[in-house]
């Protein structure tokens, strides 16, 4: 620690340099930064710590604030997106206004990008700390803006995560609007059969949840709906939805449903069965689905009127139009799910060779077989041997997998496919003991308790063949012994080439980010490099997005199993409930502020403002005269700063990011 005398202005600044384990200090000479910071004007404390976010380090800062009388704090560590909030709370706990703290990012902007140039990195870290000190000198104590909370949640997505979150919120007494893009709830989980690890039947498991959501007086369900507009802010979102018509009013008696399905002359590939089978233009995907009202696919429907003849004119309306619905919500919960990757034509024989299907399709094939089926039959062919190939579309490597023209490389692990493949392999062996099953894998990643899924497959005498990251198996037409042949250089036998004759190849394909829709652009929701919605911090704020008031749950965030999805949904609901059970929430004060001593009422700033009511000229009395001066509505102002640049008198600024503060940052960077 280094002390120096306080300046005449009584600024007492504490500077804290984090090593971040070795993430920073392996590159940046932290003691040198500490020493340099100690010499900056008004810095009275300069310290370093292995982990500044740790409890002992935070207590150190708190103690310094109290004992050293610090009135400004600078922390140089990782990105503020991770710990700005943490350190604001630290500063606040020390008795200082939380906005008298400034952050310098010396990990993402220094050590992680200049690792090969430690001296220059250290010099840059010193510049960034000096800039932060320059800015913190001009920071002022601020109060958060309190806004009333609309006590309703908008849940986007009606799959497992959305249902679980909606039910959890409703059970806590919170009103929910649940929006689902497709005509039916349940998402991809409803398309599964026996879930690993315990082989529970997916739709039976979901039935109480679906019924609970459908019967809840607190949950408004809108299917065939999507978000088309969002206004407002944290606690007060005004969301516009477009709801496509169902064309059928229900519910319908089972016999009527059977009659119209039989009578409908038009069909289309079944989404529920991943195109393996056809469904009618008027359809319900499975018995017991929710809503229990069929939907009409107007792209397939010929308007022949046969369903109308059976149901009566009151139950059918082909001319029903899309409608717009407005929902006011205090927070938004994104549960838009994933989509199963469909391999491109020719990828491991998919789409070219008969008998090559994805795991998602194979689960539907198994589901369609009678429970007492003695033989495994696919497309009328008796299957005697099956190869399941892992990592199709996952963990792709540049130079091994071709990113074009089909799609960008998907470098992430889809996490669920290993356990799902092993589970499917065991199911085949247990239901059809005469079928040989081969698992072609890169690494078995049946993590945690899913190890038992692997052990079960091993006990079931599934044959394992390991291929290397750089030698993808080849699937080709069989030579007569079987319909297909899979060639793999098996790493378990020293890279020996093994030609496996099989009747069926099942591709354990990746989980891709689902189509979250326009809301991503409308709300500027952060997307990670893998295409999934990006949480603020995987450990510290795992279900929150950087846009305040927006939570994420389930596979919209990353590949997850059903139990992980349920847990994530409950966590997101708990986070949302914490907001929605309050009468008022505090917003950051980073909006425009007018300095009335400088404002001349010319209104140049007002002309630049793009938000109605956020900034206007108001008549006030000043020095005994009535004058017009700019006035900011702090709730409506978005804090963009368009007004700042045009004021010739420097009478308007953004709190926490004023021009003067930016000039001092520049001074610090250039000194």
């Amino acid at each position: 620690m280094t002390d120096s005398k306080a300046s005449p202005r009584d600024l007492r600044i504490g500077v804290y340099i984090c090593h971040c384990g070795g993430n920073i200090s392996d590159v940046v000479d932290c003691p040198k930064v500490v020493e340099a910071a100690a010499g900056f004007d008004d810095v009275v404390v300069s310290r370093e710590h292995s982990f500044m976010c740790s409890d002992p380090a935070q207590e150190m800062i708190i103690e310094d604030i109290r004992k050293q009388g610090l009135n400004r704090v600078v922390i140089a560590s990782c990105s503020p997106s991770l710990h700005e909030l943490t350190f604001r709370r630290t500063v606040e706990r020390g008795g200082l206004n939380p906005f008298l703290y400034e952050h310098a990012n010396i990990r993402e902007q220094v050590s992680w990008v200049h690792g090969s140039r430690p001296e220059e990195a250290t010099a840059k870290a010193i510049r960034l700390v000096r800039a932060a000190v320059g800015k913190v000198r001009l920071l002022t104590a601020e109060e958060r803006i309190g806004v009333e909370v609309l006590k309703r949640a908008l849940v986007v997505g009606g799959g497992l995560a959305g249902l679980r979150a909606a039910k959890s919120l409703a059970d806590q007494g919170i009103e929910v609007t649940l929006v689902e893009a497709s005509p039916f709830l349940g998402g991809h989980t409803a398309q599964l059969e026996h879930l690993f690890p315990h082989a529970d039947q997916a739709r039976e498991l979901m039935a109480p949840l679906l019924r609970g959501v459908a019967d809840s007086s607190r949950i408004e369900v809108l299917t065939r709906a999507k978000v088309v507009g969002v206004e407002g802010y944290f606690g007060n979102f005004q969301v516009e939805l477009e709801v496509q018509p169902r064309h059928i009013r229900g519910p319908l008696p089972a016999d009527k449903l059977a009659q119209i399905t039989e009578a409908c002359p038009k069909s289309a590939p079944s989404e529920f069965d991943y195109g393996l089978r056809e469904r009618k233009a008027i359809y319900m995907p499975y018995p017991g689905c929710v809503p229990e009202v069929p939907a009409v696919d107007m792209q397939s429907c010929s308007r022949c009127g046969k369903c109308e003849e059976i149901l009566g004119a009151d139950a059918v309306d082909f001319d029903e139009q899309a409608r717009r619905v407005k929902v006011d919500a205090g927070c938004v919960l994104m549960a838009t799910g994933f989509k199963p990757y469909e391999p491109y034509k020719g990828e491991l024989g998919y789409g070219e060779l008969e008998g090559v299907v994805t795991l998602a399709q194979f689960i539907r094939i198994l589901g369609a077989l009678p429970k007492d089926a003695g033989e495994l039959e696919v497309g009328g062919r008796k299957i005697q041997s099956v190869a399941l190939i892992h990592c199709v579309g996952s963990r792709e490597i540049d130079g091994v997998h071709d990113p074009s023209p089909h799609r960008p490389l998907r470098t992430y692990c889809s996490r669920v496919c290993c356990s799902a493949s092993l589970h499917a392999a065991s199911e085949i062996r247990e239901r059809f003991p005469g079928v040989n099953v081969f698992e072609l894998y890169r690494d078995i990643r049946s993590y945690g308790f899913y190890e038992e899924v692997f052990e079960r497959a091993s006990r079931n005498r599934v044959v394992f063949l390991k291929y290397s990251d750089y030698e993808i198996p080849v699937v080709k037409a069989g030579n007569g012994e079987a319909a297909l042949s899979v060639v793999v250089n098996d790493q378990l036998t020293g890279g020996k080439a093994v030609d496996v004759p099989v009747d069926l190849v099942v591709l354990a394909s990746a989980m891709e980010p689902g189509d979250a829709g326009e809301i991503v652009g409308l709300m500027k929701l952060p997307i990670g490099s893998d295409g999934f919605l990006l949480e603020v911090h995987p450990k510290l704020r795992p279900v929150e997005l950087a846009v305040e008031g927006v939570m994420v749950a389930g596979t919209a965030q990353a590949p997850m199993s059903t139990d992980e999805t349920s847990a994530a949904a409950c966590a997101a609901a708990a986070k949302a409930a914490r907001i929605l059970t309050r009468d008022e929430i505090p917003l950051d004060p980073f909006v425009a502020r007018v300095d009335l001593s400088r404002c001349q009422g010319e209104g140049l700033c007002v002309a630049q403002c793009g938000y109605d009511g956020a900034l206007q000229l108001e008549e006030i009395e000043q020095d005994g005269e009535k004058v017009k001066r700019a006035s900011v509505n702090a709730v409506l102002c978005k804090g963009c700063g368009a007004c700042v640049a045009v004021c010739p008198h420097r009478a308007i600024d953004i709190v926490g990011c004023t021009l003067d503060q930016l000039y001092r940052q520049v001074d610090g960077l250039c000194a």
């Binding site: 690792g115 652009g521 804090g639 368009a642 700042v644 520049v666």
Partner: protein, 150 residues
């Protein structure tokens, strides 16, 4: 890979809080390198910066400025258009003062535009390698009202 660092020149990267600043984080998380003579500042939106700010940066020591906006996807209504017009006016001012207008570059960087981020910094570094530092004595900076007390 990053372009050669040019310690005698300095690059300012003006980033937006919602878009290109997280983009800089993504670059860091991917451990991509870029020249050490570049520094990031974070603003809500570069539209808040008057022409004078850019001149101030040149006067104080920066030689190239990359304005990393959110582009057409900017969350603020009409902001990108206003920014583009301001930088257009700035170009005129730079020409008047004999400052190479290529020293200010407007681009759009999103939260995951890591490759674009690095490319923009490297391109500016390469330009500065060619044209060298700013003649700071030639930068004319108009006086402003005094700074408010902190």
């Amino acid at each position: 890979m990053s372009a050669a660092s040019t310690p005698e020149t300095r690059i300012l990267l003006i980033t937006t809080a919602d878009s290109s600043y997280p983009g800089a984080d993504t670059v860091g998380q991917m451990h991509l390198g870029y020249p050490t003579n570049s520094s990031v500042i974070r603003v809500p939106d570069p539209v808040m910066l008057p022409e004078r700010f850019y001149l101030y940066c040149f006067k104080k020591g920066f030689d190239g400025i990359v304005v990393m906006s959110s582009g057409a996807e900017c969350p603020y209504e009409g902001s990108y258009e206003r920014l583009a017009k301001r930088l257009d006016r700035l170009t005129g001012v730079l020409k008047e003062q004999g400052i190479d207008f290529r020293r200010v570059k407007l681009c759009a960087i999103c939260t995951v535009c890591a490759a674009s981020f690095v490319r923009e910094v490297n391109q500016m570094a390469q330009l500065l390698d060619e044209i060298g530092p700013v003649d700071r004595d030639a930068v004319v900076l108009e006086e402003e009202p005094a700074a408010r007390a902190g």
